[in-house]
Symmetry: C2
Subunit: 340 residues, 2 copies
């Protein structure tokens, strides 16, 4: 993907060809997994408008920042966030290191393997599990543990590594934007350190372009006097809701020109992006494909009273602010790279 | 500077030519403001070792991260940090907006213009001034204010904008590293938002590659419903001492391969960088040129009992760990670009 950065002219030519709908260039479509429609058109027109010299909406290369939510926007988030699966899977190792936890809640419930009881754990219990499994070790040890888990864990439905459950159409958008000179960022409610362990291999997004929920670390020395950092259960950034634009300011320092999300947790990021001057693109992925992926809403994890829709408030705001909705069912020809 | 990124082969050729000391290529010296010596040699050899394919110390392009302290390492920090001058200069505007502060300390002292009294303000007083002048406004308003000040303020000794008081030899190092595929970061104890207002124009370092002392922001809406961020007096990262490697982990997520500093506040960053495997470069700028710049030490702002030296502990550690000391007096042929 690196070489793509050197080919903005090529990418622009492709976009121009696509916009002109010249049949001879059909094979150069930079978004082959997308059906023709308003969503695909919005992306192509945005790239054209912001990267064509002389365009009234031209954005200088250094200001080309695009922010992508991860869970539910770049890969599958249903029925559980991958990171939650990771934390639950890590509980036995944590209890092995601290046997006194075996009889303490919520660890006892997780160890029981009772899926129904685990699914009913409160947010407070979940936070205890996250703190115990994501902190207390060195950043290098965490990195190694997470990578090892990702290499062996399999999603129960597709029987594949979680890193294969990325949406091919969104990876095409990442590639198209990068070829057009955009820096692509993940801005996730998930753990920044966790996502950074696979973002480069999975999306071509380096660790320094991942903004996520982040805890503090503590600098210290090992017995040989070598410095290292320990992950602490001290929250620095809750990168959800208003935390997303706040996190963007902290970690990037510029307002994005394009943003992609799929839930109420992305609302403020989409608003903040769209409120900038000039051409702005805010898009929402709608999970309305129960056959090929999932159909759920209005809020993930709550009863699906309005399957395949957003909460009414978000739906209204999307219409009012000109956010473009991406229907997985209608807009995506293919969802996963592993599909035939 | 952007185009330089596309020329790693050229940069390597230049470095190779320099290392071979081929007189015909002398004009291609990428570090023309450096005198020949151990410091210059260390930089050139490091770039060669980490970017030559097949070298035992080759560093893949995505891992090429170089971290630079700013104050005293990239530009003049004496006798006052530029940001402190900015904050003192902002006090009248703050008091104009909040007249009740005029009789309150430390604001009354600053308004008095009594330089001796101002110089004696305690750290606690200084923090009050920083909080009052750096927070409470929107991030956009702060950005505009800081840029306006930087355009008009002049350093009292050189009568030039502060952004011209950068060290030319260090800018050459930035250029050389970038040409060799390194991402260059500022890792400063100064305010992240302040440094970001000029880093791109001054050093070619974009805002997203500035790690600094950072406060929280608060997302909200103005009367027209437009979202904006307000700077809050809530410290998220004190990017000094141990805070430097902690900030590097938070904002970059990778251990640097090269780091440059000049004071005890950079110690942990230099240790953390040097402790990585493979070729590592940790360098310390020594302020020992009272004629062309300043000579001071052991700790900035304290009596210069050991002018032009580091505190003994840092000096010992530099020797023990193989950090390379840069003598401004001996290693730098030119210090500023405006010198004849």
């Amino acid at each position: 993907m690196r070489s793509a950065r050197l080919l903005p002219a090529f990418a622009l030519a492709v976009v121009a060809a696509l916009a002109a709908a010249a049949p001879a260039f059909a094979q150069l479509d930079p978004l082959p997994s997308w059906n023709d429609g308003s969503a695909k058109r919005a992306i192509v027109e945005f790239v054209q408008a912001t990267t064509t010299p002389g365009s009234p909406h031209f954005v200088p290369p250094e200001a080309r920042i695009a922010a992508f939510d991860q869970d539910g926007t770049l890969w599958v988030e249903h029925p559980l966030y991958t990171q939650v699966v990771y934390c639950l899977d890590r509980v036995p190792a944590v209890v092995k290191a601290k046997p006194e936890l075996a009889k303490v809640q919520p660890f006892a419930t997780v160890l029981s393997g009772n899926r129904e009881a685990i699914a009913k754990l409160s947010m407070d219990s979940l936070l205890k599990i996250l703190a115990a499994t994501l902190t207390g070790m060195s950043v290098d040890a965490f990195d190694a543990e997470a990578k090892q888990w990702l290499a062996s864990a399999r999603d129960p439905r597709w029987k594949r590594p979680y890193t294969q459950l990325t949406y091919l159409p969104m990876r095409e958008v990442l590639d198209l934007l990068r070829a057009a000179g955009y820096k692509t960022y993940i801005v996730t409610g998930g753990g920044q350190d966790f996502v950074r362990t696979y973002s480069e291999a999975t999306y071509g997004i380096p660790p320094e372009q991942v903004v996520g929920t982040a805890g503090g670390t503590k600098f210290g020395y090992d017995e040989d006097g070598r410095p290292f950092l320990t992950k602490e259960p001290r929250l620095l950034l809750n990168d959800n809701d208003a935390g997303k634009p706040e996190g963007i300011h902290l970690m990037i320092g510029r307002r994005p020109v394009a943003a992609f999300g799929n839930s109420t947790g992305d609302r403020q990021m989409l608003e903040y992006t769209k409120a900038g001057s000039g051409a702005r693109l805010s898009m929402l992925v709608l999970h309305d494909d129960a056959t090929r992926e999932y159909a759920y809403g209005p809020a993930r994890g709550l009863p699906d009273t309005r399957v395949g829709t957003f909460p009414p408030a978000l739906d209204d705001e999307a219409k009012k602010n000109g956010w473009v909705v991406i229907s997985m069912k209608d807009d995506w020809r293919r969802i996963f790279a592993f599909e035939p």
